[in-house]
């Protein structure tokens, strides 16, 4: 055997012995751009990253980052569909989405439950490991935020897929209540809870959140994008309003609305209205914005989810002009004066009126408003008006505060309870236009969905009044029932 042969064989043997050591490492790869489920709760930063991921998920893919608002807006009577495109809600607008409507019925459901499961997985991760890492107090902070977001998801599901609480006092079918983490294949058959049961869970989560989230954060951005105590309370007023539990609305709202003008929160983050109604749409982190979904050039809303893309036409902000304002809708309201600052949000182009609250051109990164302080004021006003025997003075004051910020020349002086309630509801259509209230405001009061253009009105008794259950849920969850 010559020298070359020896070298060859020696090299071969050395190579073989080396590779057998390396083999097991290479067969069990550890991705370098993701984090393993085994270590997802190992550090404080990672745990907080998990919390933020739940926010990011409630923001993304068409929940509170745009589509929740849009679907609610276009279920009302103020917007006209311009594009007949089901991808951008044509079927929702004409009250005819089907079990197979991917971009509305299926996506919203899937995304809401993805958020719910993320929260459930997080709660499980905290109890198994995370709490020990960050300590009980911080753990409770984070858990409270997760539960708040879970509540928001269940709330959004109820608005679209379930009969309103007012119909049978919550006795109608709700959605499956999932409170345990799902991380692999399994048997996931689960029947629907009742609407009341789902609301009860929402409130349980919110009550826990209220006492466990921080009172405030280090800066205005966090105060607008993360849940603090007043955020939770504000959302509770919306939940109770949807249930028609006026007294609870008042109890909650009073925690963050002063007795008299200027109305503001007394503790925690001092929420109040800005002097100029335009301010919250240019400076996204004022104390008026209780919760908004943040966007940035490197954190975009995603194609066909952006508010500005839907409501702005090409000529104004380079949007798609999916929805114009119906000429006979709220913009025809004679009492909404031309001098009202909020009229400034209505611009015309191509002979049509457009809502220009969201003005940033492509990439359409206006923050999506979720809760603004005027909503809480109007929630309170409505509850006060409903519970009073006559005309509630504080309700009128709240209503006027909202109106007079934009139109100092108008002072409402309703003479009957019914007139006051009607004025408050009308003010919601003006103040909260394009912020996702129209549909839910109609359904919680069992009002018909309005007729518009070629679309007929849908009475509250109609099957079309709420969305159908997604076909894939019906197919894969044998205990699920359709609406």
């Amino acid at each position: 055997m010559n020298k070359l042969n020896k070298i060859l064989i020696a090299t071969g043997l050395a190579g073989l012995s080396l590779t057998s050591c390396k083999r097991d490492v290479d067969l069990f790869p550890a991705p370098t751009n993701t984090i393993s489920d085994l270590t997802a709760y190992d550090t404080r930063d990672r745990i907080e990253g998990n919390v933020r991921s739940i926010y990011a998920s409630i923001k993304n893919s068409g929940m509170y980052g745009g589509r929740y608002q849009i679907f609610n807006d276009i279920r009302g009577g103020d917007f006209n569909n311009e594009r007949t495109n089901v991808v951008t809600g044509f079927d929702v607008w004409q009250y005819t989405p089907t079990n197979n409507s991917t971009n509305s019925v299926q996506n919203h459901w899937s995304q809401a439950y993805y958020v719910i499961n993320l929260a459930n997985v997080f709660l499980d991760g905290m109890s198994k490991k995370g709490t020990a890492v960050v300590g009980q107090t911080l753990s409770n902070n984070f858990i409270a935020e997760a539960r708040f977001l879970r509540a928001m998801s269940y709330y959004s599901l109820l608005q679209f897929y379930c009969r309103p609480f007012a119909d049978g006092n919550g006795s109608k079918p709700g959605v499956p209540l999932r409170l345990t983490p799902n991380t692999g294949s399994g048997n996931y058959a689960l029947a629907r809870a009742t609407v009341a049961q789902v609301y009860a869970q929402i409130l349980e989560d919110l009550n826990f959140a209220e006492t466990n989230v921080p009172l405030s954060y280090a800066n205005a951005t966090l105060n607008t994008t993360r849940a603090h105590r007043n955020t939770v309370i504000a959302f509770k007023t919306r939940v109770y309003l949807s249930m028609g539990q006026w007294n609870n609305v008042i109890t909650e709202a009073n925690k963050i609305v002063s007795a008299n003008a200027p109305f503001a929160a007394a503790s925690g983050v001092v929420h109040t209205m800005q002097a100029n109604v335009r301010t919250p749409y240019t400076n996204f982190t004022t104390t008026e914005s209780i919760l908004s979904m943040p966007f940035a050039a490197n954190e975009q809303p995603g194609t066909q989810n952006q508010l500005g893309f839907y409501y702005g036409p090409a000529a104004l902000n380079g949007g798609s002009g999916e929805y114009s304002l119906i000429g006979t809708g709220i913009i025809a309201d004679a009492n909404w004066k031309a001098t009202d600052a909020r009229r400034g949000f209505i611009q015309t182009s191509g002979g049509k009126s457009w809502l220009m609250k969201y003005t940033i051109p492509s990439t359409f990164i206006d923050w999506a408003p979720v809760i603004r302080y005027p909503e809480v004021m109007l929630n309170l006003a409505e509850a006060l008006a409903e519970t009073a025997t006559g005309v509630d003075a504080r309700a009128v004051a709240l209503l006027n505060a909202v109106r007079q910020r934009s139109d100092a020349t108008t002072t409402f002086a309703p003479t009957t309870k019914a007139e006051l309630i009607s004025l408050i509801l009308n003010e919601r259509r003006i103040e909260l236009l394009g912020e996702g209230f129209a549909g839910a405001d109609l359904t919680r009061r069992l009002q018909p969905l309005p007729a518009k253009a070629s679309v007929a009105s849908v009475p509250s008794t109609s099957q079309q009044y709420i969305w159908p259950i997604p076909a894939n849920e019906l197919l894969l969850n044998p205990l699920m029932t359709d609406n």
Binding site: M1, L4, N5, L8, G12, G15, T19, R23, D26, L27, F28, P29, P31, T32, N33, T34, I35, S36, D37, R46, G49, N50, R52, S53, Y55, A56, S57, K59, N100, Q106, W109, Y113, Y114, I116, N117, L118, R178, N182, T183, G184, S185, L190, T225, R226, P294, A296, A297, E299, A314, G318, P361, S362, T363, N472, E473, L475, L476, N477, P478, M480
Partner: protein
């Protein structure tokens, strides 16, 4: 080993003494020629220990011991011969080698004599794919091998062909066979991230290919165990051979044209019919109508958008190779350059490649060799062709744009500016809101969607032969693919409008190394012939991608990411790896070349699989019986009829993970942003038990020849049971899982038979005709899916679900809603709903009527995709090819037909061609219903009607039989006679004219029944949705050998 050396030494000494004692020499001279009298240069002439090689003129002079009686003359490609030394100069004629003895089959980690081989492998010569107007050799395989279906999915250059070996063998993983190039598994698919396609197999210059062997059954493929379920394609590049340097030049030029485009309405017909549709919709008015516009010449604009989008593409190809060598070193070197223009404007392909194969024998024990291949290819496009998987509904897709854009507008305004209205093409004189999507000319002029690929495929081996019967070999191979993707969309163009310009560049690196160590044992003991192989192989593949995406340009002068833009976002980020560790063995034994038995086994461990199921063991066994060697047979009637007759069969189990994500089995959290801060989101639920799809293959066949093998045939029956199909099993959406979890569940099978019959039909002195016909019948059936999954709908480009996979049916059957013609009384479309009841539809209903009505006038529920039925198979039952080569003196004609029978195609484009929105229509629509009593298949035109003809949901009226017979290739060549060649100081010269896709015999109304909008997607075959046609090409070429 010392004994051996001692022995060698002693023998040498003895010989030395012998030669010195009896040294008395004589000189022998002579000339070696082939049967035609052409001198054979470089032939080895041996007399015992002494020897020489022949010179350029075939002559030799050799001094041999006086008592030497015999010369042994050998040369590659010829039968070795021993001749008695006669009077010098001797004249020695070498006979061409008997093909049947020298023919080898490439098997894993080596070759085997075809006659001894018991697996099922189809062999194709490199010349069959050389000098074709293709970008990659796999595009030229169609019709060449039984049971191997090759479809060219579109006329987009360098789109990977759809290749199926014995049917579709997977549902959600890849069904593309494993490609092994010179022993190294390589990449397939589309490596481009842009609208240009880039098949990595295009890195190989087809002219450099010696042979292609397609292994089909378990015996042939099992040595590639876990990757063998879809078959294995072995590609062997050319190597040098002993002899003086041979230089060869290949060049061709050619041109490409689209064919079979549907006829469209011209501007006048369009304007008239659209206005008719508006009237029928009660929407025609002075301010809402279509109108002609006069062009700069004062005549009405009448644009043929096909002319705008398609072109005659020019191509050329040049390759030079040099090969040669001596006893110890052989080399092959080549350089090739090709430039090809596609039928779509701005769709170009350029390749520059070099290859060097060197083999060196260092001494009696050690040999080594290397392959170096580097290729640069440019895959260029301007915008989406609408023809690659996922692109079918792109509004700028160039397949669709010419079909739907109004012919009464022009790409340019009369003043020469672009005709644009926002991101859309302008309406010109039409008084309607929209008459098209994009203006393609803007994209042609201003946009880019390019992919540049640099690929290096190289390897180095060292081989030791310590004993005659044992070969140890170690091969280290690299396959690196570097991809530069570059997108630019001008602010004026449809794509760049909304973002005020868009530029994105991203870089992908895929690096693979493969280290193979084998020991081969081969020995014959009397009539027992044994060979065995053991080996260990590791394969590691790493992927890295990164890039930058920019929107909102500061100044339109900036046209790349390096310019000034507003946003700096990431693009194409990715990092992952996979690893395969394998141990394998094979053994072959035959007795007297009559009884054959072979076995393969391979154990693979793959990093992609679940922690609990990393390893799998795969095997194949086969046997054969050459009956014609038996005495009883030889003496019987059969023996006189059949010149050879072999029965063979195989059985085994192989696997598939091709296409599985690198980290598919892991549970992972990914990181994004919320409010500018990092997130950690549960993004993938894994499966620790995720394992291979397994494929149990059975194969039986006979190979026989008659008339002294003038006619040979190979017949085979096969059945392939695939179990443990990996499906992404959906859970109820309310479970909130981030993904459908990959799970081994589900099964299917392919069963069929194949035949290959080759014959020397005419063997005259001047005229020969060799014909070869191959074909296969395949039956595909899905036997089970996951519990709770009764069916899988596979959408075309995420929008239109026309393919359904259900147990009891073949994969990807068409799922369409039925129609029953057009009501002659009213012109309404008649649908048949899920309950089988006829429903009459009119897009705009007069007062008192509904859009959907039953025959009795009552309102019917809307018909839609929920009324669809499983309508027909999309996988051809019969496929094959018919290859003929005629030679007359120096002329040669090769004609290749391919056919596919027994399947359906969903011609989705047809729905668009009859859509009653602003879209232009095919001339079929001229036969529309106009008045009561009209019997036609085109409903009354009502503007806005996107339902009657299939745009909203797929209809049976757009399903057609796909049967076709295609004249796929034809080459007419002239070989320059040797006497002229000699005068020109060249050895060979060949001139040819060749054509591709010259004729199609089919009733299919679309451009080409072969196209596939969904490319290689297993679950969605047979869809032709807005896909551009295939090209018809003519080339003129020249080969010269020096």
């Amino acid at each position: 080993m010392y004994m051996r050396r001692l022995l060698t030494l002693m023998v040498s000494m003895l010989l030395f003494f012998a030669s010195s004692v009896f040294a008395q020499n004589k000189t022998v001279t002579g000339k070696v020629t082939d049967e035609k009298g052409v001198p054979v240069a470089g032939a080895s002439v041996q007399a015992g220990k002494v020897g020489t090689t022949t010179g350029a003129d075939g002559t030799f002079t050799l001094s041999v011991p006086a008592n030497t009686k015999q010369l042994r003359v050998t040369y590659v490609g010829f039968e070795s011969t021993s001749v008695s030394i006669g009077t010098s100069p001797m004249s020695i004629v070498l006979a061409s080698e008997d093909k049947s003895l020298s023919e080898v089959v490439v098997v894993g980690y080596g070759t085997q004599r075809k006659k001894d081989y018991t697996g099922n492998t189809a062999s194709i010569k490199g010349s069959a794919v050389a000098n074709r107007p293709v970008q990659s050799f796999d595009q030229a395989l169609g019709g060449r091998a039984a049971g191997v279906q090759v479809n060219i999915p579109s006329g987009v250059l360098n789109a990977a062909p759809v290749i199926r070996v014995r049917g579709i063998n997977s549902l959600s993983l890849s069904s593309v066979p494993l490609f092994v190039i010179d022993g190294v598994p390589t990449f397939t698919g589309d490596f481009s991230g842009t609208n240009a396609a880039a098949n990595p197999l295009a890195a190989i210059n087809p002219n450099d290919i010696e042979s292609i062997d397609i292994a089909k059954d378990a015996a042939a493929t099992a040595i590639y165990g876990s990757r063998a379920a879809n078959g294995v394609v072995f590609v062997t590049t050319k190597k040098g051979s002993r002899g003086k340097a041979k230089v060869s030049y290949d060049g061709w030029i050619g041109w490409n044209q689209p064919f079979g485009l549907p006829k469209l309405l011209d501007a006048f017909q369009y304007t008239e019919l659209k206005n008719e549709a508006l009237r029928n919709a009660n929407a025609f008015s002075a301010t809402n109508q279509f109108r002609l516009t006069n062009g700069p010449d004062g005549q009405p604009i009448n644009t043929d958008w096909y002319d705008v989008v398609y072109r005659t593409g020019m191509m050329h190809n040049n390759a030079v190779s040099v090969s040669g060598g001596n006893e110890s070193t052989q080399y092959y070197m080549s350089v090739g350059y090709t430039e090809q223009e596609g039928i779509l404007r701005r769709n170009d392909f350029k390749r520059l490649g070099i290859l060097m194969n060197v083999d060196h024998k260092a001494n009696k024990y050690i040999s080594m060799g290397a392959k170096l291949q580097y290729t640069n290819s440019m895959n260029l496009a301007s915008q989406s062709s609408g023809s690659l998987p996922g692109e079918a509904f792109n509004t700028t897709g160039l397949g669709r744009v010419p079909m739907i854009t109004a012919p009464n507008v022009a790409p340019y305004n009369n003043d020469g500016t672009y005709n644009l209205a926002g991101n859309l093409i302008g309406v010109m004189g039409n008084l309607v809101g929209q008459v098209g999507f994009s203006n393609p000319v803007v994209g042609f002029d201003l946009n880019r969607s390019n992919s540049e690929i640099n690929q290096m495929q190289s390897n180095l081996y060292i081989q030791a032969k310590p004993f005659e019967f044992l070969t140890l070999k170690s091969t280290y191979a690299l396959d690196y693919v570097y991809v530069d993707n570059e997108l630019y969309q001008h602010p004026l163009s449809n794509e760049g409008f909304s973002t005020n310009g868009f530029a994105q560049s991203w870089y992908n690196k895929t690096k693979r190394w493969v280290w193979t160590n084998t020991a081969q044992f081969s020995k014959s003991f009397k009539k027992h012939n044994v060979s065995a192989l053991i080996g260990v192989e590791q394969q590691k593949t790493e992927f890295i991608g990164f890039g930058l995406s920019r929107q909102n340009v500061n100044d339109p002068a900036f046209t790349n990411i390096q310019g000034g833009w507003t946003t700096p976002n990431t693009a194409g980020l990715g990092i992952s790896d996979n690893y395969l560790y394998s141990e394998f063995a094979s053994a072959n034994y035959n007795f007297d070349r009559k009884y054959f038995i072979a076995a393969n086994i391979r154990r693979d461990g793959a990093s992609q699989l679940g922690a609990n199921s990393k390893f799998g063991t795969f095997y194949g066994i086969s046997g054969g019986w050459e009956i014609s060697e038996e005495n009883f047979w030889k003496q019987s009637f059969f023996g006189k009829t059949f010149s050879s007759f072999k029965i063979r069969g195989s059985y085994g189990k192989v696997g598939n993970i091709s296409g599985l994500g690198n980290y598919a089995s892991l549970s992972q959290f990914t990181s994004g942003l919320y409010g500018g801060a990092g997130t950690v989101a549960f993004a993938q639920a894994g499966n620790n038990n995720l394992g291979w799809e397994t494929s149990t293959k059975t194969d039986f066949g006979v190979n026989f020849g008659v008339l002294n093998n003038r006619i040979t045939a190979e017949l085979a029956y096969y059945k392939n049971n695939v179990n443990g199909l990996i499906l992404n099993v959906p859970q109820p959406p309310s479970a909130g899982l981030p993904n459908a979890i990959a799970t081994n569940i589900g099964s299917l099978y392919n069963e069929g038979f194949e035949y290959l019959i080759s014959a020397d039909v005419v063997r005259g002195k001047n005229f020969t005709w060799r014909a070869s016909i191959n074909g296969a019948y395949n039956h595909n059936e899905v036997t089970s899916l996951a519990p709770g999954i009764t069916q899988i709908l596979t959408a075309t480009s995420g929008l239109e679900s026309v393919n359904i996979t259900r147990p009891g049916y073949s994969i990807g059957q068409l799922f369409v809603t039925r129609t029953a013609g057009v009501d002659p009384a009213t012109g309404r479309r008649i649908f048949v709903n899920g309950a089988g009841r006829q429903v009459f539809f009119q897009h705009v209903a007069p007062a008192g009527q509904a859009r959907f009505m039953f025959a009795d006038g009552t309102t019917a529920p809307a018909v839609g995709s929920q009324d669809a039925v499983v309508y027909g198979n999309t996988i051809p039952r019969w496929t094959g090819g018919f290859d003929n080569t005629f030679r007359y003196k120096q002329f040669e004609l090769n004609v290749l037909f391919t056919y596919q029978l027994g399947y359906n195609i969903y011609f989705g484009s047809n729905a668009g061609l009859r859509d009653q929105r602003f879209w232009n229509n095919s001339t079929d629509v001229l036969a529309r219903w106009q008045k009561a009593g009209d019997v036609t298949e085109i409903p009354r035109l009502i503007f806005g009607d996107n339902i009657s003809n299939g745009s909203s949901f797929p209809l049976d009226v757009n399903v057609f039989n796909g049967n076709f017979l295609k004249l796929r290739g034809m080459t007419f060549a002239y070989n320059l006679p040797a006497k002229y060649a000699d005068k020109l100081k060249i050895s060979t010269a060949r001139f040819y004219v060749a054509g591709n896709n010259l004729a199609i015999f089919s009733k299919y109304p679309g451009p080409d029944p072969e196209v596939s909008s969904n490319g290689n997607t297993p679950g969605a075959p047979g869809v032709d949705r807005n896909t551009i046609a295939n090209a018809r090409s003519i080339t003129v070429g020249l080969n010269i050998g020096f």
